[in-house]
């Protein structure tokens, strides 16, 4: 550990002094992300809203992004921290591609990398204020996992962040099954997003829905209530 860091930390314990700053609260935030595994791959949905406190300020924020050849990431929480994470992942994928050797980072590897990053930041009391959903398909194997801002991570058949945990997961627990077709998967996601639109005050009525099967496709899905 740097001795310089230690002296600054001693001065004001946790306060921000020159050079040592930490995230205290998020400013522009995204709300829930929902992901499910379906028969052929992964489906993820998130709305396109960026709230500035209680104001629904930005309405075209893309919170789902493809990573490399095999993965999709969705984030809720601080949008600027999500953009920072995208920069890290961009560099990671770039170096992976530069090897040009037939090996590539799959969703499991990206998920674990993100877990290490998030946990590391949490240990420095400077978290990336996000809950991430990481899904992907590699060699026919589907993968869906989540990482929180404190580094808690796990995999499951259906994942939700933020309000989605309280409103969408009960629906998913009841109605998800192993062999969901693409159409049924989208309908299920739409049902969850509708409930969120009714009950989550930071939800907006414009969605992004991504599907990942061997290749990635996207749809912008205006939802009218």
């Amino acid at each position: 550990m740097n001795s310089i860091d230690a002296t600054i930390a001693e001065k004001g314990l946790m306060s921000s002094e020159m050079g040592s700053e930490r995230t205290l609260y998020p400013y522009v935030t995204g709300t829930s992300v929902i992901g499910i595994k379906y028969k052929d791959g992964i489906l993820m949905a998130a709305d396109m809203g960026g709230s500035y406190g209680s104001t629904l300020r930005y309405k075209s924020v893309e919170r789902l992004k493809p990573i490399g050849k095999h993965s999709l990431i969705g984030a809720s929480g601080e949008i600027s921290d999500f953009q920072e994470i995208l920069r890290y992942l961009d560099e990671l994928i770039l170096y992976d591609n530069m090897w040009d050797d037939g090996n590539s980072l799959g969703p499991k590897e990206v998920h674990n990398y993100l877990t290490r990053v998030m946990y590391n930041r949490r240990n420095k009391f400077n978290p990336l204020w996000n809950s991430l959903v990481l899904g992907g398909v590699k060699n026919g194997q589907k993968y869906l996992g989540t990482v929180s801002m404190i580094g808690v991570h796990f995999e499951d058949n259906h994942i939700a962040t933020g309000f989605g945990n309280h409103l969408a997961r009960p629906i998913l627990r009841k109605e998800w099954h192993e062999n969901l077709s693409f159409e049924d998967g989208v309908k299920l996601l739409e049902k969850c997003m509708r409930v969120l639109l009714y009950r989550d005050r930071s939800a907006v009525n414009k969605l992004q829905v991504w599907c990942l099967f061997p290749f990635v496709t996207s749809a912008f899905y205006p939802l009218f209530s």
């Binding site: 090897w99 050797d101 037939g102 090996n103 590539s104 980072l105 799959g106 499991k108 590897e109 998920h111 674990n112 990398y113 290490r116």
Partner: protein, 256 residues
């Protein structure tokens, strides 16, 4: 002056690097071969005296990678510590095994550094790296010069030319060989380097890695069983009055 530091000679050569490659040739033989799904490493055990135990030449680096060394064992140990460290760091970050092709490049880059600093000397050890990645089993050879090559089969160390001759004859079949056939071929190649000495399980070590099979050194009993089966097939060939193969006589360098 030029010969004692890793600097250029007037003829455009790096003597220290070449001398390091000579050190590899002094070590006892190590052999590697691979098929699509398995890779086998075998080495000849050399002991300093009858009283001592033999040098360890095969090291497990990770569940999916192992190496066999020839040359300065101490350098080999240091490098295997580096390789293990790289593998475990990758596993920690990505929960996934480090592809052997990438490990080999990192090792080669490390070796290259020693060829470009006048206060360092090159590592005096050649490594046969056998491991798995997404496309199956691979075998690489890392030189002290910082070069690395991928091989279907290779032999390094003293009297390795005899083994190479045998492997050159048979390598085309290796890709589709079964695990057992690969091990037999490895032991046969070891036999070639022994130049008449009897092949027993105390004189050689064999290790295997494959898809679904973690890297491990085979226990001596199993090795002896394979050796015995080799001899049975050999006797049959002799009795069948097949042509005796010419074993190329080799002027062996001083075996230290």
């Amino acid at each position: 002056m030029f010969r004692n530091h890793t600097t250029w000679s007037p003829a455009g050569r790096l003597f220290q690097v070449e001398y390091a490659m000579e050190a590899v040739k002094q070590g006892s033989a190590a052999i590697g071969l691979r098929s699509k799904t398995h890779a086998v490493l075998a080495s000849v055990n050399k002991a300093n005296s009858e009283l001592s135990s033999h040098q360890k030449k095969i090291f497990k680096i990770d569940d999916h990678i192992g190496i066999a060394i020839a040359g300065l064992t101490a350098d080999g140990r240091v490098l295997s510590r580096y390789l293990r460290s790289e593998c475990i760091n990758y596993s920690f970050t990505y929960e996934s095994p480090l592809p052997v092709g990438r490990l080999v490049v990192q090792l080669a880059d490390k070796a290259q550094v020693c060829t470009q600093r006048s206060w360092k000397r090159p590592y005096g050890v050649g490594l046969l790296v056998a491991g798995l990645d997404e496309s199956g089993a691979h075998l690489y050879y890392n030189c002290p010069s910082g070069n690395y090559f991928e091989y279907q089969a290779f032999a390094i160390g003293s009297r390795s030319q005899a083994a190479k001759t045998y492997l050159e004859r048979k390598f085309e079949t290796f890709m589709d060989s079964s695990r057992e056939e690969l091990i037999k071929d490895a032991l046969f190649a070891i036999k070639e380097t022994l130049q008449g000495e009897k092949l027993t399980n105390s004189i050689c070590t064999v290790a295997v890695v494959g898809v679904g099979e973690p890297f491990h050194v085979m226990d001596q009993k199993t090795v002896q069983e394979v050796i015995d089966s080799l001899e049975i097939t050999e006797e049959r060939a002799d009795q069948g009055a097949a042509m005796q193969e010419d074993r190329s006589p080799e002027t062996a360098p001083m075996d230290i």
